[in-house]
């Protein structure tokens, strides 16, 4: 009895959601949006890209997983920059009231700016790099859009370190570096990882916009190209892929985060 209830909750109910979604999709393409390919057409047209996921037939004609991999590499680079810049910045903001007062207005203004707005600026900034400009601009956009959760969560984490821990450091007269690495960093880790997880979500969100605008090969670039060449079926494939990858990334980060929460 309990087993079947469990099965119902974790298997059957999500399945109902999927079926309803597919039905809605069929319905839409049959009625109001005749240009929207229905699920069968999507599958038929996407099949070559899916069954040979690592095929390479040209820069903009590759298997879906190969595109995903290209996107992931770009995200990883931009995300790494975001963490390398964002974490220390968060520490500085958490430790110094003066730094907070100086930076906070700028952060609050820059934070809501869309990736679509940053990308042209990135292009201008790195114009001198010549051929690499589109990659640099994409990295710049991913980094600047995704670093804010890391900055803000780290700062909150540093501010909420219990006074007890700081007293221990003071009483033992730990040096600044020792206080930082033995007390401040370990005490802030759970907050930092919450920031890291949120940042990764944003970085993945930004990749599509960055690839669309720069025309780089990847899931986002592929999506845009197929739209321009009127192959609508594969757009849906790209959307599903982006969603699934984002979901997996978030799960993975949650696992890492949970590890540090209990420690």
């Amino acid at each position: 009895m309990i087993f079947s209830k469990l099965k119902l909750d974790s298997l059957l109910l999500p399945l109902i959601g999927v079926v309803a979604f597919v039905a809605l999709w069929f319905g839409l393409s049959a009625t109001v949006s005749p240009d929207l390919p229905d699920p069968t057409a999507t599958w038929v047209s996407s099949k070559p890209v899916v069954v040979e996921p690592f095929a390479y037939r040209g820069e903009m004609d590759q298997g879906i997983l190969r595109f995903t991999w290209l996107s992931l590499v770009l995200v990883a680079k931009g995300y790494a920059i975001a963490l390398i810049v964002g974490t220390p910045l968060g520490f500085i903001l958490g430790l110094s009231k003066v730094a907070t007062k100086i930076c906070d207005p700028m952060i609050q203004v820059l934070r809501p700016v869309s990736p679509l707005a940053w990308l042209p600026l990135g292009m201008i900034l790195f114009m001198k790099t010549g051929k690499g400009v589109s990659e640099m601009a994409a990295l710049f956009t991913i980094a600047i859009c995704s670093m804010w959760p890391t900055v803000l969560n780290t700062a909150v984490g540093v501010r909420s370190i219990p006074q007890d821990y700081l007293n221990v450091a003071k009483v033992l007269k730990l040096s600044r570096t020792k206080t930082l690495f033995k007390v401040l960093v370990p005490a802030t880790l759970p907050y930092m990882f919450t920031g890291f997880r949120l940042s990764l979500g944003i970085a993945w969100l930004v990749i599509v916009a960055a690839e669309m605008l720069t025309g780089r090969p990847g899931v986002g670039g592929f999506l845009w190209q197929q739209y321009n060449s009127l192959v609508y079926e594969q757009i849906i494939l790209c959307i599903l892929t982006i969603g699934l990858v984002g979901f997996v990334l978030d799960r993975l980060m949650s696992l890492v985060e949970a590890r540090f929460k209990t420690a």
Binding site: D164, Y165, K173, P186, A263
Partner: protein, 277 residues
């Protein structure tokens, strides 16, 4: 009496929006080398403030504190502090928590010597088998044992205890009194403890210092505890002198803590020597 720790006319004032709030005023106390002194008073009277000023965690507004002939300026590992909550870093094992201080106090010693110091003190407090556990795997009493080991392992000039047994159940408390006294006896260390437990103060101390109620708290009365050491709790409980001292302390806390010490001295029996005498 030659004094090892000398607190002279120490005053602590906080500035508040409503003007300065005087927490402690002209606090005077001398402690001899190797002496165990307790500071007792109602909660919020400022006894912990005095202790944290000696620890260097709290700035002194006025007056000065001299330890072993040197005026104190900020915190340092020459004073081992045991906090009310053990204040262990949860990401370090018991061993690493103690090592953190030992590394700092004995940075000239090599690694194996430092490890030996940590192991020695953790074994003495009864944690020989649990050295490599993290705080969340230890009971509250065991954590406080680590806290005590950490303070002693620094071989400090002075031990400062801020209601160290306040969060423990009474059985654990009695056990840890034993652990503390044993270490104190072996190391012949000077100790200042803040407590609000009358029995604990009498059992552990050579002198009990009663503080008047705040604001502007000061030393109200000092009680000498004459019992021979090592003390036996059971024998003490049967000693009429113990009850006489206990009565005096409770009488002070109940009736006279709110009076200024000068009035208190005049109005009551001379058995309680006032701070100024």
């Amino acid at each position: 009496m030659s004094s090892y720790l000398e607190i002279s006319r120490v005053t602590k004032t906080y500035t508040t929006p409503k003007g300065p709030a005087v927490i402690v005023k002209d606090f005077d106390l001398k402690i001899a080398k190797g002496e165990f002194v307790s500071l007792i008073g109602h909660s919020g009277c400022g006894k912990s403030t005095v202790l944290s000023m000696v620890a260097g965690l709290n700035d002194i507004t006025d007056g000065g504190i001299v330890l072993a002939g040197k005026e104190l300026d900020g915190p340092g590992p020459d004073r081992g502090v045991v906090f009310q909550s053990p204040c262990l870093l949860p990401w370090l094992t018991a061993f690493e928590n103690v090592m953190l201080g030992v590394d700092q106090a004995f940075w000239t010693a090599d690694k194996s010597e430092r490890a030996a110091i940590v192991e020695y003190y953790l074994t003495v407090v009864g944690l020989g088998d649990s050295m490599h556990k993290r705080p969340h795997e230890l009971s509250q009493g065991m954590r406080q044992r680590v806290g005590i080991a950490r303070a002693f392992a620094l071989s400090p000039k002075m031990l400062l205890l801020d209601e160290p047994f306040g969060m423990l159940d009474s059985l654990t408390r009695v056990e840890l009194h034993g652990v503390l006294l044993e270490l104190w006896r072996r190391n012949q260390i000077t100790a200042l403890m803040v407590t609000h437990d009358v029995d604990e103060a009498i059992f552990l101390s050579d002198r009990v210092v009663c503080m008047t109620d705040g604001p502007a708290a000061e030393v109200g009365a000092i009680l000498h505890i004459p019992f021979e050491r090592p003390r036996d709790r059971k024998a003490l409980m049967e000693d009429p002198e113990y009850y006489r001292l206990r009565e005096q302390l409770i009488d002070f806390l109940e009736h006279r803590a709110h009076e200024r010490p000068s009035q208190a001295a005049r109005a009551h029996q001379p058995a309680l020597a006032t701070a100024t005498a």
